[in-house]
């Protein structure tokens, strides 16, 4: 097994996810780390945001992470060998106001990682774009659309459910072009 200091973002995510799973704690990776994984690090992230798939007492998470050398500081977990930071944003596991149904699994040499699907990853990024006007998150969504097979009709439906149809119409062309180029490459 690789040392934590040598693990990539995905490998570390899988390692942490597996360690927590062993303790009966089910978490799903969300946020920018999913973008990094789906785009093979065309977007770089040092933050691993895990959302609990079922409510868990914080002390159990702290104990499980302490066992693998992560120490909590200001609600973040850090390890002396790595710059990656682990955080557990408040649940429930959702994209906008909808629960996440499709949880992806990815195998790494360090374990099995549960994470948002590429389509939900786009929704997650667009939620930040829609609500915070965060242009970086729009670019991340476009990167994922170009790197993975995504269901843009589902993104359109979800945008409408979030009352963001007008905003989606403005970005639809960029997402579609990225997806088309991705499929052709």
């Amino acid at each position: 097994m690789k040392s934590i200091g040598k693990m990539s973002l995905g490998e570390l995510g899988a390692f942490v996810c597996t360690q927590l799973r062993k303790q009966g704690i089910r978490v799903v990776l969300s946020g920018g780390a999913c973008v990094a994984i789906y785009t093979d690090n065309r977007y770089e992230s040092l933050d691993l945001d895990f959302v609990e798939n079922a409510p868990t007492e914080r002390t159990r998470i702290v104990e499980a992470l302490n066992e693998i050398g992560f120490i909590e500081k200001d609600r973040y977990f850090k390890h002396p060998e790595t710059d990656f930071i682990i955080e557990f944003p408040a649940g429930p596991l959702a994209v906008g106001s909808e629960p996440v149904r499709d949880i992806q699994e990815m195998e790494f040499s360090t374990g099995r990682l549960s994470l948002l699907s590429p389509t939900d990853c786009i929704k997650d990024r667009l939620a930040a774009y829609y609500h915070w006007n965060d242009a970086q998150c729009l670019e991340q969504a476009i990167l994922v659309a170009g790197a993975r097979n995504v269901d843009l009709n589902e993104v359109r439906r979800w945008s409408a459910a979030e009352s963001k149809s007008a905003e989606f119409r403005k970005i639809r062309k960029r997402l579609s072009e990225a997806a088309r180029k991705g499929n052709n490459s």
């Binding site: 609600r75 944003p89 408040a90 649940g91 429930p92 959702a94 906008g96 106001s97 909808e98 629960p99 939620a127 930040a128 609500h131 915070w132």
Partner: protein
Amino acid sequence: MLEPLLGSRNKERILLYLRIRKEGYAREISRFFGTDLAPIQKQLERLENGGVLYSRSVGRTRLYGLNPRYPFLSELRPLLDKALAFYPSDEKEKLTMVRTRPRRKGKPL
């Protein structure tokens, strides 16, 4: 009103305040309700950690608001609106009637 549900009177005050005023900071909220600052700060922190509120820094002030990405926001808003409907009209007016238009510095009253 919602205290039995929320488990804290200050939580209710904060949520109602932010529902009406959109954003606010701890000292402003505590002054408005004539309550101590520390418990308001504590509940603001709890609500932010729970994803119900967001916060942002403006100068040296930390402003809070209802988090638009909170999955239950569309259910929370009508609940707060209904709770507000039960408030005495003078308190409700105090909460809703706030000057939002600009006022030049030094202008006499």
